[in-house]
C-alpha cells in the first residue's frame, strides 16, 4: 500500500503540490495525467525520495518515507525502479553498464549473472544489439527504452514511470505499453506512471487520476474516464482549448 498524505511542495513563491492525497493499492497501476508543468515529475520524485516535501507524508507498507533512517531508505530504494522523463542514462557508461548498474553497485550481483539479466532486459525492450554503445550514440527513443530496461533490471516491486512513451513512434510506444502491462502483471508490481499519451494511459492503467492545481481532482477507471463528464478531465482528454483549465 502506497499512501500519499497532504503533500505540499513549493519552489519559492510557486506552489506545485498543494495538499495532495493519493492512495495506490499494492499491485495496482495508476496513471497520473495533467497539464505540462503541473507537477507530475515533482510528485514522482517525492515518491522516490529524491525531493523532500515542505509538509506531508508518503507511507509505503507502514514506513513513512521522509522519516526513514539512511539504511532503511537504501533498502526502500532497492525495491523501487524509476524511469526518468529524460532517461537520465549515465553518459560515461555503455548501455549495458547502465542497465546493470544497480545490480553491480547496489545489489552486488555476480558479473556473469549481471550479463544475463542485462541481455534479457535489453531483449525485452527490443534492443539486444546495442549493449556496447554509449548513450550519446543512440536515438532519443532508444534511450527511453534503455532507461526502461534499467528501471526494471533489479525487478523492483514499485515502479515509477515518468512519461515512458513520450518521443516514441506509435508502434514502439504500443510495444512499450504492452511491456509495462506485462511487467506490472507478471511481477505484481505497484506502479505509478505519468503520461501525456492518452492511448498509453488507457492501456496501462487500472486507475487514471488527474493532477490539477496541486491536487488530485479526478480518480476513475479507464472506462469511466473515457466517458466522464468531469469538465476538467473532459477538456484535457479531448484537448479542448476552452474549458476550466486556463492555458498558461
Amino acid at each position: 500500500m502506497f499512501t500519499i498524505e497532504k503533500l505540499h511542495k513549493g519552489f519559492g513563491p510557486l506552489t506545485v503540490l498543494d495538499g495532495l492525497d493519493l492512495e495506490v493499492k499494492t499491485g495496482q497501476s495508476v496513471v497520473i495525467i495533467g497539464q505540462s508543468g503541473c507537477g507530475k515529475s515533482v510528485l514522482l520524485k517525492h515518491c522516490a525520495v529524491l525531493m523532500r516535501p515542505d509538509s506531508g507524508k508518503i507511507i509505503v507498507d507502514g514506513q513513512s518515507l521522509f522519516e526513514l533512517p539512511r539504511r532503511d531508505l537504501m533498502a526502500y530504494r532497492q525495491r523501487v525502479g524509476v524511469l526518468f522523463q529524460f532517461g537520465a542514462l549515465f553518459d560515461s557508461m555503455t548501455v549495458a553498464e547502465n542497465v546493470g548498474f544497480s545490480l553491480k553497485e547496489s545489489l552486488r550481483v555476480k558479473p556473469a549473472r549481471i550479463k544475463e539479466v542485462v541481455e534479457e532486459k535489453l531483449a525485452l525492450v527490443g534492443l539486444s544489439e546495442i549493449g556496447d554503445k554509449m548513450p550519446a550514440e543512440i536515438s532519443g527513443g532508444m534511450k527511453k527504452r534503455v532507461a526502461l530496461a534499467r528501471a526494471i533490471a533489479a525487478e523492483p516491486d514499485i515502479l515509477l514511470y515518468d512519461e515512458p512513451t513520450t518521443g516514441l513512434d506509435p508502434i514502439t510506444a504500443m510495444v512499450i505499453n504492452e511491456l509495462i502491462v506485462d511487467v506490472n502483471k507478471k511481477l505484481g508490481v505497484t506502479s505509478i506512471a505519468v503520461t501525456h499519451d492518452l492511448a498509453s494511459a488507457f492501456k496501462i492503467a487500472d486507475r487514471i487520476v488527474m493532477l490539477y492545481q496541486g491536487k488530485i481532482v479526478y480518480d476513475g477507471s479507464p472506462d469511466e474516464t473515457r466517458v466522464t463528464t468531469d469538465p476538467i478531465v473532459h477538456q484535457f482528454i479531448n484537448g479542448l482549448s476552452a474549458g476550466p483549465i486556463a492555458v498558461r
Binding site: K45, A48, L50, M74, A75, R77, Q78, V80, V82, F84, F86, A88, L89, F90, D91, S92, F101, S102, E105, S106, A154
Partner: protein, 247 residues
C-alpha cells in the same frame, strides 16, 4: 558533504577501481602540463634569483635558494593552481552535467550513494595525484633552474648542485608534499561541491565550473598561508625539543 566524504572512506578498498580511474584522469593525463609549467617555473626563478644575487650574494648559493623556493612554495602552489584549472574544472563540469541531467538522481534512486561512488574516489585520487605530481614538479623545476644556470649564467652544474645540496632539508621537501596533499583535497572537493550544486542547464554548469576553479584557487592560497604557518611552528618546536633533549 565533507563529513559524508570522510565517512565514505570506509569503502576505500571496494572502490579501488573507481579511484584508479580517477587517478588516471587526474594524474597521468596532467603530466605534460605539470612538466611544462615546472620547467618554466624553475627557469624563471633561477633568472630572478641570479639577478637579485648579483654582487650581493655569492652565486654558489643560487642552487640552494632556488631549491628551497621550489620545494616549499613554487612547485606545490603552482602545480595546485594549474591543476585547479584542469582537474577542478573537469570535476565540476562532469558532476554538474550529471546533476542537471538527473544522472545523480538516477544513481540515488538505485540505492547507490553518489558521495561514495562519485565524490570519495575523486577526493582520494586528488590527494594522491597532487602529491605525486608535486614530486615530479620539484624535480623538473630544479632541472629547469639548473638548465638556466648552466646554459645562460655560465655556472658549472656541480656548483649549482652543491649549493642545492648544502641547503637541502628533507623537511622542506616533506612540508611541500603535505601542502600538496591538502591542495589536492581542496581541488577535488571544490569541484565536487560546486558540481553537485549545479542547477539549470549548460549555463548553470558553466557557472559551477567557474566557481569551483576560483574558490579552489583562493582556498589554495589561503591554505598555503595557514599550512605554512602551522608546519613552520611544528618544525621549529620539534627542533627545540630535539635540541633540548640532546643536552
Amino acid at each position: 558533504m565533507l563529513g559524508r566524504t570522510v565517512a565514505a572512506l570506509r569503502h576505500l578498498f571496494s572502490s579501488l577501481h573507481l579511484i584508479l580511474a580517477q587517478m588516471y584522469f587526474t594524474g597521468v593525463k596532467s603530466i605534460w602540463l605539470v612538466m611544462v609549467t615546472s620547467v618554466f617555473t624553475g627557469g624563471v626563478s633561477a633568472w630572478q634569483a641570479g639577478y637579485q644575487f648579483k654582487s650581493y650574494v655569492p652565486m654558489r648559493y643560487l642552487g640552494g635558494a632556488v631549491g628551497k623556493a621550489v620545494l616549499i612554495e613554487l612547485a606545490p602552489v603552482l602545480t595546485a593552481l594549474v591543476m585547479a584549472g584542469r582537474v577542478g574544472a573537469g570535476i565540476a563540469a562532469e558532476l554538474g552535467t550529471m546533476k542537471v541531467t538527473e544522472q545523480i538522481d538516477a544513481m540515488e534512486s538505485m540505492a547507490v550513494d553518489p558521495i561514495r561512488y562519485l565524490v570519495m574516489p575523486r577526493f582520494v585520487a586528488g590527494i594522491i595525484m597532487l602529491t605525486v605530481l608535486t614530486i615530479l614538479a620539484d624535480f623538473i623545476a630544479i632541472l629547469g633552474a639548473m638548465g638556466v644556470a648552466v646554459g645562460f649564467m655560465e655556472m658549472p652544474s656541480e656548483t649549482f648542485m652543491n649549493g642545492f645540496r648544502q641547503l637541502f632539508l628533507m623537511r622542506d621537501f616533506l612540508a611541500g608534499l603535505i601542502k600538496a596533499a591538502g591542495f589536492g583535497a581542496i581541488i577535488a572537493f571544490m569541484g565536487c561541491y560546486f558540481g553537485f550544486a549545479a542547477e539549470g542547464g549548460a549555463e548553470g554548469v558553466g557557472r559551477s565550473t567557474t566557481h569551483a576553479v576560483v574558490s579552489a584557487a583562493v582556498l589554495i592560497l589561503v591554505a598555503d598561508y595557514v599550512l605554512a604557518t602551522l608546519l613552520f611552528q611544528i618544525c621549529s618546536r620539534s627542533r627545540n625539543y630535539i635540541r633540548g633533549s640532546g643536552r
